[in-house]
Amino acid sequence: MSEQTGEPRVIYCRCAYAQVVPPEVKDGVLEHLSAGGRAFEAVADLCEMSAQRDGRLVEIAGGGPVKIAACHRRAVLWLFHAAGAPLAAEGVEVVNMRTLSAAAASARLDAAEIDSAAD
């Protein structure tokens, strides 16, 4: 579990309110995460949460190392910032489901190390 092993948390964004992430990629990644035994949190749409300034974003940003499966890093970082929940410069990997295959994105989520520059 995340608390015990110090593994980065995993947040999965479904991009449900306007589907800019290829369906086969987001389905493949969710299938992978839901079948594994690892803790993860699935949210419907980070853009929607940012628009609402959802308090959960502050918890995510302040909770230590995290991998966020969503879209482009620049968009995700500044969406959090816009919601008053800036993400740390280090310890945050954004796994881009807009550009990666489901297998590649899943592998990044499974990897122990955090690539804070990945896009």
Partner: protein, 282 residues
């Protein structure tokens, strides 16, 4: 209108409930997410508890427990999905949600500009351009997106007027507006405007001051309201011809008088902010 979601779903597979088959777990999660719910699987750890009402969903075999938040802060309901088809679980959850309102995917799109402050130079061109008061200025004179809900869905026009490629619309199809890394060609028009003599003189920061002066100059020109109107029309018509602005946005533009009034107001706010900036820099 934008409404905060108030229901979080927890799929429970611990004692007293059966473990869902992987394919069912996936299908249930995907359908709930597609309806706008946040979902977690219980018993796997994870940090942070979230907010809003909590709906605990599991195959309880007809014996769903009654739960209550020990802290007395959140409403908790349990839902037995034993025998409920994968495709019907989201309907059952919707019914359980009852009167709690939330945004419906498909009915509303989170569409608003997101500023990349690592690129933004606070030139205020976006504030001056937008006719729907989406932008504003903070107490410190910094550009801000202040009225998300005013933004016209699918209209990314202000991203085109930003000289620094700092305005993103994450739901947009193409880059760099969607947040893709900005390539050199994306800022080429800026590179062409560099003051070579200043560059040769080793003062690359002159470009920033020059931009600020240009912006101030532009705003003073815009005191001529009819000129401002003509400039905006030209810009909007060009963006519409490029297929960049949706027709319904053009159709909903304010009257020419209203545009003139808004342009005047925006110019005044932008000018005041730039002056504040200039004062702070001096």
């Amino acid at each position: 209108m934008a409404i905060a979601p108030h229901v979080q779903v927890l799929i429970y597979e611990g004692s007293g409930a059966a473990e869902l088959a992987p394919a069912r777990r996936f299908a249930v999660m995907a359908s709930l997410l597609d309806r706008g719910y946040a979902v977690r699987v219980a018993g796997r750890g994870g940090r942070g508890v979230g907010e809003g009402a909590l709906l605990v969903l599991g195959e309880f075999g007809g014996n769903a427990p009654l739960l209550e938040d020990a802290a007395g802060e959140r409403a908790i309901a349990t839902l037995d999905i034993s025998g409920v088809e994968d495709g019907k679980v989201a309907d059952v959850v919707d019914r359980q949600r009852g009167e709690r309102v939330m945004n419906q995917p498909g009915m509303w799109k989170p569409w608003f500009p997101v500023i990349d402050y690592s690129r933004c130079t606070n030139c205020m061109q976006c504030l001056s351009f937008c006719l729907f008061d989406v932008y504003g200025v903070s107490g410190e004179g910094k550009i801000q997106v202040q009225n998300n809900d005013n933004c016209k869905t699918n209209c990314p026009a202000c991203s085109r007027v930003c000289p620094e490629v700092a305005i993103m619309f994450p739901k947009y199809s193409g880059g760099p507006i969607n947040g893709e890394p900005v390539s050199e060609s994306g800022v080429q028009r800026q590179a062409m405007k560099v003051d070579i003599s200043a560059l040769l003189g080793g003062d690359i920061y002159s470009r920033l001051r020059q931009r600020s002066d240009e912006a101030k100059d532009r705003f003073s020109r815009e005191r001529d309201a009819s000129k401002a109107l003509a400039e905006r029309k030209k810009c909007l018509t060009k963006l519409a011809a490029d297929g960049f602005i949706p027709a319904d946005v053009l159709a909903s533009l304010p009257s020419p008088e209203e545009i003139q009034r808004k342009a005047g107001e925006a110019a005044a706010r932008a000018k005041a902010a730039l002056e504040m900036q200039g004062g702070a820099e001096a």
